[in-house]
Symmetry: C2
């Protein structure tokens, strides 16, 4: 079987100029980055503001398992399938983070014959967006420490600096560090730590901004920490929002590439899906909606985290209407939710599958609560038995749910035709009555409870003493009208990663909360969230190489 990079290298790419021409873009609308990548002008959205929007299709999934669901691959495959049906479809995806590529993943741009290309660039430095975010984040850090070092006019409490440095690398020893050692020439010593770049609030801001001015306003609002009197200190207080925005002047522009079948794809931004909202940028999704009849876009993790945040945070900020939802699952993953061990997934087990459907069922109910039409996509694996797929068909029929089998990894768009037809029917219908999970004017505590009960199926929430005090403080600061960004394990509907399927009768424990005032949401932590990954014993980087004639190996 061919690897992803082999398939990618055999694909016949169009020049990005041809892709741009197919989208009726003029010369000022885009800039080339090499022959197969481009940046779209940040003025394009304004230019196209009177054009009607294409229909947005959100791809989400059951709670992810080690068995793999292939959500990105289905997203790409569905876009390709729509194009095969002569619809103008554009895919909007997140950009991969270099750290995990070097660590576990080896690559993250779809798979097989449903990839975005050039995958070797997209998986490495791409057009430099993540590097620009790293620079802006760390310029702010340097300015903060320089301010403290040079007299600390703002009276910043070094123990209460919440702004962390970032690096796009899996580097565990940077999780907890002490900086400023070595005497007066080396600044004021304090505890600090690095997170991975995609966990930077600047990444979340970039993805929620509607343009350059909005970006600057959001950056100005970032709360970097507190004074000795516990008053918030903002980027505006440090007078550095102009320089930070300047560092992001190109990163704000969405990136245009293509898939293995030359379907246009806009890849832009990639915030963490727990401490941030886990979606590609508003500018990417909205630009795609202006350029295509259909936009196929993806949110991180399962529907409990990704879809909820896409709809309650991103769509609220960006005024995005979702036409239909695709919920991706695999037979293998559903069997894991039904109790099968990872090592026994190859064996047919309809009973386990039946139990595992409870996980899918909850996500269906969630999408129904949002008032959106949906299609279940079962992403085919060679080990799926006929009895198993038959069971799924009967289950969906008896539950009134539309389902399509997809085979987009092996067959590209051709493997997603059935899904595409069903999704179009849903998206083109008027069968929608959209509701947010919560009204924005509720209190922070009420909003958290509504997500836990309505989306996770929890009985209740329990706030730690610390979290209670923080929420009171936030409400007093006037931050109570912001949406909630839940940081919960992706593996379970509950806050306990070992509870697969559909846990019931549980309480979600809230450990603490964090204020992402620039991004415009309150992060709610249900447990320890790792914002700087580590490398495994044998990092994926060990397999990577480039030969004298430029051939790349080890990305997959």
């Amino acid at each position: 079987m061919k690897t992803d990079i082999e398939i990618a290298q055999e694909a016949k790419l169009k020049s990005i100029g041809d892709i741009a021409k197919d989208l009726h873009l003029t010369e000022n609308d885009w800039e080339p980055y090499g022959h197969t990548k481009a940046k779209l002008s940040d003025n394009l959205l304004k230019k196209l503001q009177d054009k009607p929007n294409g229909k947005v299709i959100l791809v989400t999934s059951i709670n992810p398992t080690p068995a793999g669901e292939g959500k990105s691959t289905v997203t790409v495959g569905l876009g390709q399938a729509l194009n095969k049906l002569n619809k103008k479809a554009i895919i909007a995806l997140r950009e991969p983070s270099l750290g995990p590529v070097m660590g576990m993943k080896g690559g993250a741009a779809g798979g097989g014959y449903s990839q975005v290309l050039p995958m070797e660039d997209i998986n490495l430095h791409f057009t430099g967006d993540l590097h620009a975010i790293t620079s802006a984040n760390n310029a702010l850090s340097a300015i903060i420490d320089n301010h403290i070092h040079r007299g600390n006019e703002l009276n910043i409490d070094p123990r209460r600096v919440e702004w962390k440095r970032v690096m796009d690398m899996n580097d565990r020893v940077l999780r907890q560090i002490v900086v400023g050692l070595g005497g007066p020439l080396r600044g004021i010593p304090r505890e600090d730590g690095f997170t991975i770049t995609v966990a930077s609030e600047i990444m979340a801001i970039l993805c929620l901004s509607t343009g350059l001015e909005d970006l600057k306003k959001r950056i100005a609002r970032i709360v970097i920490g507190y004074t000795y009197e516990e008053e918030p200190v903002t980027v505006k207080d440090l007078k550095i929002e102009g320089a930070l925005t300047l560092l992001l002047k190109d990163a704000i522009k969405p990136n245009l590439v293509q898939t293995t079948e030359n379907t246009p794809a806009i890849i832009h931004g990639g915030p963490f899906a727990n401490i941030a909202h886990g979606c590609n940028s508003i500018m990417a999704t909205k630009t795609a909606a202006k350029l295509g009849e259909y936009v196929v876009t993806e949110a991180g993790f399962g529907a409990d985290l990704g879809a909820e945040k896409f709809l309650d945070i991103k769509s609220r900020a960006g005024e995005i209407d979702t036409a239909a939802v695709v919920i991706v699952a695999t037979v293998r993953a559903l069997k894991m939710h039904g109790g099968v061990d990872k090592n026994n997934l190859k064996e047919e087990n309809v009973e386990a599958l039946k139990n595992g459907m409870s996980n899918l069922k909850k996500h269906i109910e969630t999408v129904e609560q949002f008032g959106l039409p949906y299609v279940i996509a079962i992403n085919k694996f060679p080990t799926d038995s006929e009895a198993e797929t038959d069971f799924i068909h009967h289950w969906c029929e008896s539950h009134g749910a539309e389902v399509a089998l997809t085979d987009v990894w092996a067959r590209g768009g051709e493997g997603g035709i059935d899904l595409a037809k069903k999704v179009m029917a849903k998206a083109d219908s008027d069968d929608r009555n959209f509701n947010y999970t919560y009204e924005i004017n509720e209190t922070l505590e009420t909003k958290i409870r509504m997500i836990a009960q309505k989306v996770y199926g929890a009985d209740n929430i329990e706030l730690s003493q610390k979290a209670k005090k923080q929420l009171m403080f936030y409400e007093k600061q006037g931050w109570g009208k912001l949406p909630i960004c839940m940081a919960k394990t992706q593996y379970s509907l509950s806050d306990d990663p070992t509870l697969l399927g559909r846990p019931e009768g549980f309480t979600v424990s809230i450990r603490e909360v964090q204020a992402s005032i620039g991004a415009g949401f309150i992060v709610v932590l249900t447990g320890e969230m790792m914002t700087m990954p580590g490398l495994p014993k044998k990092p994926a980087a060990y397999n990577m190489d480039v030969t004298e004639d430029g051939k790349i190996v080890g990305l997959f």
Copy 2:
């Protein structure tokens, strides 16, 4: 008076495709990065290997002073002037580092009507080369700490890890840090520190590599530290040279831009000029030599550091023949070398100028020792008096030195015509008898002494006990046949920054040495070298901004 960014924004740029076409480049020879930047293929040099080389003109200067010399501006202006004389001239420069741009400098791409453009990109992220170097450097760091954390098979002594993390930022609190705190999930605690990216050995390696394979070989040879038995540990031992090279696959490609007058410029690489060799890449200079009749290139700091390293390190590694040298000075700077305080530079002072000529005189002697023809370029300032410039003319005449006044900041190439004519005459003559400062097979100590005596005019060198022990160890390791990279203050010919003019009777004290085995040189430290700058009280970043319509301010 207009600022650099205002002049830059008014310049009429050609599309980079037109610049490439003028250089007879075909479509496979280059890739666009936006409309006015390109990367040249790393195969271009091989393709053009049988083409005769253009003449390389090295621009160097007296020891820099706070008065300013304008070496980059003269380099750009000279290239433009040659083009005005209908010669095909190409400029080869270093890329600026973002850290100092945000800190003191605000920009570093020539000045006035002798700039390389688009300066707002070149000064910020440009084509991402420095970010790629940061990533490769820090991927290696993460791999080292991960190796130690996961059993330490190679028996690396955590106290003897010499490989540091890097960031392209002026951030003093990162100079000395402790990493790995917080328990077993956060790795092994050890002392560490960040240097600025341009001080990374990977930057030096990139600039001394002749291609992708050479790059990989050099990376494999990097010594990252020592085992508990004090044996060197290399990147090859860690098996990560393939992945690091892959991260640099685009950074190795030279960047093509243009000047305010549309003269082609290749801007690539920018290593520190003290702990590294301070020149743009071998690939940039050699590619420029294949594409043009004349290459105007620049080395860091004064001739004692920059030109010496350009000739003894870079030209030796890259087999580059230098046709002529330009030594840049200003009346103001020479007066400072003659004892005038920075605040009194506007006043005419021929006596001080006369004293200050001693500094220029030593650099002339150094260039003569190398056996190369040269022209003195006096870069005009509005405050220069006629008596002062007359004095310089008479001095040069009586010393048999060719001199030209230049006014390239205000007048572009037109202001460098006289210099261009004189340089061409020198470069086209056969008046050369090139010698290195030292033969490569001498011992390390002999080579250090020869640089100190012949280039700095020192009586002798004095090695600390530590340095003596290190040199013995290095010779034993087989590293004795490498060239020397002196890390000395740039402000004085001696190792004491306060001794201006031409100090005599001094001894150069060697504090310690460092092995840059991948780059292929031994760094000799004559004092404390700061490899991570700090920010000033009012960083240049405070003035930077970008407006809603994309207009950039605060870069200069």
